[in-house]
Symmetry: D3
Subunit: 245 residues, 6 copies
């Protein structure tokens, strides 16, 4: 989808999003009319330091069927799950639609390790992940409903990749921007990424200021949001002092 | 998918399936190893006399998004929902994947009427149906989770058609055979249809005999299933008498 | 369990319960400290005129397993489901514990017809019922979560009978009294049956009076409950008049 | 809330809404940015011919507690449930917040009859209704999750009335306009009622035309919505002819 | 609600409750007939050493609506959520009713920090909490369904404070006593607090003794509960020895 | 059930299973046709190093009832819960059927400590566990839905032991082999244990090899599964080298 000379996610946008928390992104998307951009029911599996930021590369599962979903299915060289693991571009995020069913896994530590080795930015699934012990040792951030031992063949039949999907109740189009942290995972529509990233920076800065104010005893009314002009004045002063350091 | 000279559902198979109840089909699929072929959570909406039998033609929805799913979306000439209604072949069944979310409709009486006019065999959705009053007057059988007033744009974004989907927890491939009655809807994998249809006939016949026996006071053990050879003898006699009439 | 000379449910108690609605029974059990005696999630399947009243005879299912739950299981002469159908005493109610899972049936019209022929009072299941068309023609009241085509072997392994079970979130002990009507099914602990039956009669009578009063325009405060002494006076007068007729 | 000389729901608006289906209202509210105005999980209990239209009068329940929710609670002259039944103004709709828990009733046929006698327009609850047999005989439309025998004291403690509530996942403010039919119940924010009512009329008219067109074989693309100018021309002609009759 | 000279929670009661585990409190409330006093679905968010004990101060949310719940809502000086954060008395617990919907947050680290600075004892919500990283650094105990990035405006409209609410399926009245630890959160009706606190002390002491006994190999029958008089004798001896230390 | 000279779980099988991960066991059971052997909804409570392996000893709960489930119930010397704790054989696993309801506990730290002292291998429950702090200090592995403060009497009435049960949606027969780790709990039908254990060893070995290969950059197609003969050659070489060490 992406051409070498025209990155869909500029370095600047990526950098800004790495500094933006998912609550900040949620609020900004809300401001622009997007009320349903938070992937419900998934959380961080592994305690990595890396922030999840990347373009969505999708894999779609439907319900498995007893005849097509035997172990031999994995032997087909174009099995969509295996293919997705080898195809998801570097810096992208593999997002899997498991119909919010975590009673079986959608991947395990071997496939996740392969993704990390290939430079994939991370993995998000509304199904389960197995081999959680191995998965927890990876640096690449993984978001899942929960650990789940059964093979994906039990419930999930990989059917196609890089099509629009739902994940955790949110529409995900290939190329959307995925951001994940301790509060969960947000999906930023591709055309909104730059704007959200730029609006996030001053918002994060003001919230840092607010938190310091609150810690020293300032009440929130008038401060958060800054309906009292005095709050903004103090904020400007705080920024000026900060920049001097 | 189907070529004119090679119907995927022969007249004979269709006729046999019109006489087979969904419990009989469920038991036969179970016998062949298919334990998950019953579309969960849907029931007949309209009190029609027609049995639902036909090849699956599928429509896939993902979660809607605020920017793409405005009323203007319906104005696009290739909106997949409208297109599916005009494309689903005569004698086929339109099966819709709404991710088991009936908080919004997937179709209303106008589209359903158009399907009936076009000779479509029926409609199955794990989402809602709106304009239930009008839908109840159609002859074409409709199976849905429940009536639901909101437009599909509220929750369901039609994304592509005639791809494999899940519906009510069951995988549905284009060309699978759909059979529906008061007990719900079964999905017969395309390659199993002829065999199931042929096995259904003697099974239905034996159950008719059993029900008569039970009504006149015969206990079920030895009779159902026919572990007592005497049951089979009486069955042969019953059949012989029946054929004389 | 019951001996011929010592019926656990006297004719008088049975008669009184046949006149008591399930809401009245629910309120009386509530008064005696039983807040959880209503079987959740089941409703009447067939439009019979018979009120469901009878002693509980239970059948317990656990989750099915692929090796033990093949069609051949029904060939065993002591398969607990078949045995229960042939053993449930006349006038009793077959109550089935399906773990509130109606994705498969717990019985179909053949077994239900056999129960009716044997004089069983009715059937309650928190699983599904199949062959709903045939079941709807029976006089014996049937309460189920919903019609469901799959054979019980898909999900339900009959394991033992006449043991204490849960059904729709309520404990049911063999010999408890089951009462069902349009509002659902109540389970009266065996030792409470006589008392509840006797208390129900005057309560039903007062509510009949109240409904007449309300229809002619009397406000409910002071009348229902009868905190205004005048309400009781009018009630006595109403009863006297009624008895003269 | 309402003053005698300034009806919140004009006769004209009421009349227009009585002719508008809930799907039409849902689409219009959607057009104005309201994506969540359909009360989920309730349906019509009684087969009345009356359309439900009226201003919301609310009753809020919290979870019951064993000490406060004894039968004696109903003896208090200001028990909020009893009070609401006697206070809900004529032509209004009693809307009850049961936290989407239908495991117990929120009202029974006596209270519902009293509401009807008092001229209340109808009743909507996301809890249960008991004495369904009596309730089904009322002319006043009743929308509920399902029949449920247990007294409200089992789960629902009436706590205050005419405050903003949630019902079936929708915010309901006193004075909002409630409209219900076979497809369910819509909540129109008070300030939107007139506009929605006026927009509904031409939309219903166009859909009547569309249905006639579809029945005579016209495809939906270009017709519904009317992206083909020819559709609008035919519509004008159809209206002209209709008015002549 | 509380007057300065008449604390609703005496120092003694508070001290006793700080030593009582929630299972002990649950058992004692059960003994007194309260079977539903455990807030379902919430757990401790932050690994603080402080035990949660305090009087309930409540905040009620209803479902959000698109017109009223825009970011500008927070600018109103009397927005109930902001007001609650500034009003909840020192030593009280802010308990929020989010209708058990954690798909959006009910508060974030800035508001929680303000609560801690104001001396509030803790926070309990059956919705989500955002900025979980910051929240985890607070000393004030926080109980929530889960981290959730979306702003409360997405789903939760703060409507009033210090009214009776439901939280996690439990009724919470302002002034009830809230106790939370690793096993979750109990709600003690205000009038029961002193009695429960006093009964908890000997029960905790006996369980400490029992655990020591069990660790040295004593079977539980006769010991727990103490149906064997010998158990009580050994307990008295153990207490005597303990007091000598 | 087991006789001294004929252990149902040989030392060899136990040793092999201690080295097998639950995903490996899940895949092997799947290969043999068992698609539903993973206990849904439970996870490890305590961070022990011990792998859970042992024969199932079962305890069945039904819904509690207000009259039978008072605190005095525990005083009965043959209360099934207490009896199970004293009866479950050394090296076995106590598996409890709580109908997947974790709103109350099924055991607490005292009973769990007693089980550990008695040499029981572990405990699995689809209900809650209370006194989680104490339970977390045990060496014996415990798998539960979640911590839950209420006493089991609130919801769970212990009714019999060592009968077939369902736990987390899986049938568990006394004597089945239970294996648990970070990915959850698998139930191996007794007659499959030896075969699964033997097949697990080479599978684990191959996956160890695969993970090393993946870490050094080998793609998964052809390697996992080993459809490329070269993969098996490298595997043989890897094993040979490994054995030399």
């Amino acid at each position: 989808m992406s051409e070498p000379n025209m990155p869909l996610l500029s370095d600047k946008t990526r950098s800004l999003l790495e500094l933006a928390s998912t609550p900040t992104i949620a609020t900004l998307l809300f401001k622009h009319g997007f009320r349903n951009a938070y992937i419900q029911g998934v959380s961080a599996l592994n305690p990595t330091d890396r922030k999840l930021v990347g373009l969505a590369f999708t894999l779609r599962y439907i319900m498995a069927r007893e005849d097509t979903d035997q172990l031999s299915a994995f032997c087909e060289p174009d099995h969509p799950q295996r293919l997705a693991v080898e195809t998801c571009p570097e810096g992208h995020v593999l997002v899997m639609d498991c119909r919010e069913d975590a009673s079986a896994a959608s991947a395990g530590s071997i496939l996740l390790t392969r993704l990390q080795v290939r430079g994939v930015a991370g993995c998000v699934t509304d199904g389960g992940i197995r081999d959680a012990e191995g998965a927890c040792q990876l640096e690449m951030p993984i978001f899942t409903a929960k650990p789940s031992a059964p093979t994906n063949l039990t419930k999930h039949h990989a059917v196609d990749m890089n099509v629009p999907i739902s994940c955790g109740g949110v529409p995900v189009y290939p190329g959307d921007i995925i951001v994940g942290d301790i509060d969960g995972v947000m999906v930023i529509p591709a055309h909104m990424a730059e704007q959200i990233a730029e609006e996030a920076e001053p918002m994060e800065e003001y919230e840092t200021f607010v938190l310091e104010e609150v810690k020293r005893g300032v009440p929130i009314i008038g401060l958060y949001p800054a309906t009292d002009p005095d709050s903004l004045e103090r904020f400007e002063f705080w920024k000026a002092q900060r920049n001097q350091q």
